[in-house]
């Protein structure tokens, strides 16, 4: 009988096994990233057209947005401060512009928006409440505005073919997406350029980066919105509805937020043009958005009980400028201006947008001479 050979492991061979396990564990997530990204020969102009026509492309997926816009704004402005300053996790099911659902995922809950024609349901798990509102003429930004397709179409709204050029492809949510860079003509916008990566078959923007400085800025983009999972297909009807459980209190509200309330009831009528920018909001309204593409702003009259706390918060912002008639703060692409001083009995104008402080001051001066309208 031949003697059996027993292989005894040495300390070195044991630790080699550990090193092998570590290598395997590290290689699994890294391996897909090493695969080359495929490109297409589509031109920037064709890609731009495809993005503009993507509003009714059905899709669903998981989105993360990251914002570096640090402005201290309180609860009166809804979730605007949180949405622009940190990381937001979203799930989206989008049939078309009329039927969609966007769930904002929180560690211990959800804040969801369910849109059906002219009606939006806003559901908050921790409040156990769903609020139903008619879509107003004017509203504050909300989570759905940060989805890559919505943000991408908004920022490329008035891009000309000559303002865009192709970027290299990038793998986004597993899709080899050709890129597009839009550099707006030098002007009054705070946006230096916008990079968009697009699903080549549908024109759906998968990743959007908004920069307030050149691409070599070490701080990176001001706002990034990107799909981490995406399926380009029309989701089922039950995915875009809101089948409320009996434990959810459903109520109907007349106004959506402070901008909607001011737009309907404040004693002003905004002109069709303001400081050279065309009004986007239709009708005789006291609050409105103006401008287009990357040069747009929101003008809302506030009562002193809303304006005073906001003014105090703005004063805490780095680089804030205060003066006789206004407080101005800028963070990255966003500039916020609030007119008036504490305890002023009259209305204060909140002007916020992707425009330089000087431009918003022109806007504020035009707003301050608007006459009061008694009967609205």
């Amino acid at each position: 009988m031949r003697p059996r050979t027993v292989w005894a492991m040495t300390p070195r061979s044991r630790w080699s096994v550990v090193a092998g396990v570590v290598l395997a564990v590290v290689a699994v997530p890294l391996a897909p990233r090493l695969l080359p990204v495929g490109d297409t020969d589509v031109t920037a102009a064709v890609l731009l057209d495809a993005v503009r026509g993507s509003a009714d492309v059905g899709h669903s997926g998981y989105v993360e947005t990251r914002g570096a816009v640090q402005l201290p704004v309180g609860d009166d402005l809804g979730d605007v401060g949180e949405l622009l300053a940190g990381t937001t996790r979203l799930r989206v099911w989008w049939q078309d512009e009329d039927a969609w659902r966007v769930d904002r995922l929180l560690v211990a809950g959800e804040k969801d928006l369910v849109h059906d024609g002219p009606v939006t349901v806003a559901y908050d798990y921790e409040d156990a409440k769903a609020v139903v509102t008619e879509d107003p003429a004017i509203r504050l930004p909300r989570a759905s505005d940060l989805l890559p397709p919505v943000l991408g179409r908004a920022v490329l709204e008035d891009a000309a073919d000559t303002d865009v050029r192709r970027l290299g492809p990038r793998r986004v949510a597993g899709v080899d997406a050709p890129g597009l860079r839009y550099t707006p003509p030098a002007g009054r916008s705070t946006v230096d350029h916008v990079d968009v990566w697009v699903e080549p078959g549908s024109g759906l923007p998968l990743r959007v980066e908004v920069w307030d400085a050149g691409a070599d800025d070490p701080a990176g983009p001001d706002v990034v919105s990107t799909f981490d999972d995406v399926e380009v297909a029309r989701p089922a009807d039950d995915r875009v509805g809101f089948p409320a459980s009996r434990g959810v209190e459903v109520e109907r509200a007349d106004t959506l937020d402070v901008a909607d309330a001011a737009g309907r009831y404040a004693p002003f009528v905004l002109p069709r043009r303001l400081a050279g920018f065309a009004r986007r909001t239709e009708g005789e309204v006291a609050a409105a958005t103006f401008g287009s593409g990357v040069s747009r702003f929101l003008a809302v009259p506030l009562r002193s009980r809303e304006a005073d706390p906001l003014r105090r918060q703005l004063r805490a912002a780095p680089g804030v400028v205060t003066g006789d008639y206004r407080t101005v703060a800028r963070s990255g692409v966003l500039t916020v201006l609030l007119t008036g001083a504490d305890r002023d009995p009259g209305a204060a104008w909140l002007v916020a947008g992707t425009l330089s402080p000087d431009t918003l001051e022109d806007v504020a001066r035009a707003l301050l001479v608007l006459p009061y309208v008694d009967q609205r």
């Binding site: 044991r14 630790w15 570590v22 699994v28 211990a108 921790e126 156990a128 809101f242 009996r246 434990g247």
Partner: protein, 272 residues
């Protein structure tokens, strides 16, 4: 070998004292909620705690969210840190190793014993919280109509029970990750306290790094990154993304630290 370790675990008064201490906090929270009828404000407090005043059947999940970030990992770190270093500190390790059992089997038996401890603790916490939730908390008229999912839709009782067991299983896996880190450290030091404190330093450091934007590049690899992802089981539809990542991450931690524990322990010159 595993049977011997399990008998030691179950006969130890310290095991049951630790389980009772871990169970005490959610029990106290449940009683206080029932007495005062004051839930945490939205956005504050552990997951599901704001919902238990309406639906007591969610209290096992709230209890899990209460103990998972700190109490449970501390208990697991102490128990697993004791595994090898405890024997060494008591001077019994060399006698244990005299038996014709490989050191690998010895480590497997120790890990299995810690796993049973985790399962027992999680089950005791869940059962206590369920009884407390049904008896003291919630509005029965709402509960009988179905539990509200995090996404606002209704969950049937079988769905709720199934998802609750998945959440408990997920929490157990997360604690197995803690246990293997503690087991590895237990093979490195002679003091069980040192192994337990070292493990706590790992998960407290991980929890701290998760709050920093600057640690963005490494956050997905931190051991506590996906611990609270069990909440995603109660969204509609279930969001599997973080749960899958959490399972893979914990399996990776278990594989790496168990391999390191084996390599270190098998090489170790045992004198104690």
């Amino acid at each position: 070998m595993i049977a011997v370790e399990l008998r030691k675990l179950l006969r130890s008064r310290r095991t049951w004292a630790t389980i009772l201490l871990v169970d005490a906090l959610p029990t106290l929270v449940g009683v206080l909620l029932a007495v005062t009828d004051l839930g945490p404000r939205p956005g504050e407090g552990p997951a599901f705690l704001s919902a238990v005043l309406t639906d007591g059947t969610l209290f096992p999940l709230a209890a899990l969210a209460i103990v998972l970030p700190l109490f449970l990992p501390i208990a697991v770190a102490i128990t697993a840190g004791e595994a090898v270093a405890g024997e060494a500190a008591a001077g019994t390790l060399r006698y244990v190793l005299v038996r014709p059992v490989s050191r690998l089997r010895f480590l497997v038996a120790k890990l299995a014993s810690v796993l049973v401890f985790v399962v027992l603790t999680v089950l005791v916490v869940a059962v206590t919280a369920y009884v407390l939730g049904v008896l003291l908390l919630g509005d029965q008229s709402v509960t009988t109509a179905g539990t509200t999912s995090v996404s606002g839709s209704s969950l049937s009782t079988p769905e709720l029970v199934g998802r609750t067991f998945l959440a408990l299983g997920y929490a157990i896996l997360c604690m197995l990750g803690v246990a293997t880190i503690a087991l590895f450290l237990s093979t490195c030091v002679a003091s069980p306290l040192g192994a337990a404190l070292g493990t706590m330093a790992v998960f407290v450091g991980s929890a701290l790094l998760l709050t920093l934007d600057a640690s963005d590049a490494v956050r997905d690899y931190l051991p506590t990154r996906y611990w609270l992802a069990f909440v995603d089981l109660f969204r509609d539809p279930i969001l599997w993304r973080d749960l899958q990542a959490g399972v893979l991450l914990q399996v990776a931690y278990v594989a790496v630290f168990f391999a390191a524990a084996w390599a270190n322990f098998a090489t170790k010159d045992v004198a104690d």
